[in-house]
Symmetry: D2
Amino acid sequence: MINVTVWNEFIHEREDDAVKEVYPNGIHMCIKDFLGVNEDINVRTATLDEPQNGLTDEILKTTDVLIWWAHIGHDKVLDEVAKKVQNRVLEGMGFIALHSAHFSKPFTALMGTSGSLCWRDDDFERLWNVAPSHPITQGIGDYIELEQEEMYGERFDIPTPDELIFIGWFRGGEVFRSGCCWNRGQGKVFYFQPGHESNPTYYKPEIQRIITNAVRFVAPKNGFWKIECPNAEISPEARIATLKG
Amino acid sequence: MINVTVWNEFIHEREDDAVKEVYPNGIHMCIKDFLGVNEDINVRTATLDEPQNGLTDEILKTTDVLIWWAHIGHDKVLDEVAKKVQNRVLEGMGFIALHSAHFSKPFTALMGTSGSLCWRDDDFERLWNVAPSHPITQGIGDYIELEQEEMYGERFDIPTPDELIFIGWFRGGEVFRSGCCWNRGQGKVFYFQPGHESNPTYYKPEIQRIITNAVRFVAPKNGFWKIECPNAEISPEARIATLKG
Amino acid sequence: MINVTVWNEFIHEREDDAVKEVYPNGIHMCIKDFLGVNEDINVRTATLDEPQNGLTDEILKTTDVLIWWAHIGHDKVLDEVAKKVQNRVLEGMGFIALHSAHFSKPFTALMGTSGSLCWRDDDFERLWNVAPSHPITQGIGDYIELEQEEMYGERFDIPTPDELIFIGWFRGGEVFRSGCCWNRGQGKVFYFQPGHESNPTYYKPEIQRIITNAVRFVAPKNGFWKIECPNAEISPEARIATLKG
Amino acid sequence: MINVTVWNEFIHEREDDAVKEVYPNGIHMCIKDFLGVNEDINVRTATLDEPQNGLTDEILKTTDVLIWWAHIGHDKVLDEVAKKVQNRVLEGMGFIALHSAHFSKPFTALMGTSGSLCWRDDDFERLWNVAPSHPITQGIGDYIELEQEEMYGERFDIPTPDELIFIGWFRGGEVFRSGCCWNRGQGKVFYFQPGHESNPTYYKPEIQRIITNAVRFVAPKNGFWKIECPNAEISPEARIATLKG
């Protein structure tokens, strides 16, 4: 069973009627709904305005995969919480950063780069699958079309992805590394660009399929690890010499 | 001309007689001395106890390559200074993290990982050159031997290097990714493991050659860049349409 | 069910008594035996002296993972067979190259490099696990010790691995990238260095665990693909325009 | 001085009037002309119909960078010549594969993959610079526009590039990894997609700038190396023990 926590700042959906209409219960509930139908996935949600931004130690310790949607509330996330999220990824937790989370504290902390890009509202996007044998693209064809999505364009300030999964094409003329994987510590990170708050992107079956695939892909397969820096006082060779003593 | 700033916490060499004997003027001055003989390199130093840790905006703006040695003073580096260093790397500045700088604020911020490893004092190291055609290994043969060096062993918690240059072999039985390059933003980062404060590592000609090569390699070749996230309000395609009127 | 074919040149074990004593039925049968106990793995073997080197189109088409052990018979492998193996990997088949297969025709064809290295008989090896959360290292601790193994040392002429899993330490003083993964086409390749013919390496439980893990890791998850270079005569944008009429 | 050999199959320009009109002396002469104005670059050409396809041992030995344009003549290149080119790259020679050379013998041999892609004649391309601090993009802005170029689209069957430099956007709706670098052995490879024979792409100043930059980037910096697989009979540790005798 994979324990997923879907985190959302949950601001636009409460403050902006146009967004509320698309996601009346918040983006996190939409994601929870489509993930929750899977028997191997157990989902809960957390939001910015909860104590500790909804991410107490207890919650983090019992989360295998954390999904993050945020935009105008990046600065309101507690530094301490962002640091704990980063560390939990290094220990093994999977992390999926959606859309405007390119600028979120946990994502930029894990990347080491600014996450900057260029952008424009309301474009048509075609997402090209450049890793057709990757677990994240199971069930996805050559490309997906999104009638309306915010344009995110290069240069995207990220480290070279360990795996590039999708490249986005925008009718306005831009391209984007729209789906990227990185290993950080013992954890896996997936960034996925679609999902502007005013577009119904997370209702699209292909998008749901990709996020579901990604949950399974970034989920820890080998348990969790402690970050430590041990003094190997007795060297492996000394240990052997002693045994042979 | 490459403007290099050699930064050192400069604590061990003042507080520990054994270290003072090896580096009477500090590790930074030893590095300054061997870099300074090159006509294309202009060197200055900065230390922890100077105002702004010696790294004012003016200094950073006129630094092409920043070399960083630190160990027990990591926490004393101002968060604000570490952040400025990180950002300057993203804008194009080269960064060379030496030895115990694996745990320094700028290095771990650029990596996104903990930088943890295992360690032990006083071992014999053989550094294998696994990238013999790389600019950093010009003039270096198959391997270098260091009679006495602190052992740093795997697992080293770093993102997969963009380029792996050296692998260290320790007589006690460990291995280490001892020389690694990463691109971050528009800047290049090189981590180089040798250089324990009580060992005369930085006097070795091969080590000096590697650091000198690295300075030239990480120096910006294409100027500096601004980190920005522009609204591309007029798309490239709209611009063309307008031109064609 | 993963269909594995274990390919062995099967020469040393028939011609050299010392080797025959270690692997009386051939290395392939030893590998078949330990893989065969797994309920999700179906194993058969193939050898150099069979028609088509044991790798007919029918066999290749029904192989999910091909394991390759070879040494002195590299040149005897038919070019046509090596090419078919390469193409089948590009279509999705997993490929595990063991030990001296670093010089085999399929491996070097998939890499594009020579596969050269330096070597010496009879050393002690300690294999360090540098990817502890990777599927291939499930159940494996910090390192494995091999009392007697052929030394393979750097520089190993391979492309930068997509994932570096093990680094080998040899008592004689060398290091080696002993476990490496690459993606090629839709297939995955794993190279694993231990397994000299005269050492009982493949009887070690940890080595068996690694190879078993690797079989599951490189097995195709998304089916097989055709290599083709289609003329996309009607562009995606033209198709949309047509639909909209 | 960088010695460049520009290789061209030189078929279209002699057999097809439309192409002849664009490149009356052949694509190779156009490239020779713009490279030749650089004081640090020494250029000659070679073509398919010369003895040994124009690439004798003597020519290869005195070539630092080989540029390759080919399309309908891939199969006519001698296997032996392709193999020598590949080996020379492994020894240190830079290799630039242009446009339809994605299917050439030397390029696919160096990659280990098929090089397949999807294609369509006559589209508008916008090449996005995703590595603005890379030596290859010096002097190039955010993007380049090509009024008319053959569409090459994903999925491009290549190994993950060591460095991704350009992503192409095509008005018809496709994207492409249009500029990619790989290390192979001691040599560097750059693939660059623009350059269809009937389009005047190689006359564009930005394209000329990129190819000139690339020549300097892939040129060997550290000399040439022999491919060998030495028996390290005396281990480094034994050598030390002997010295200490």
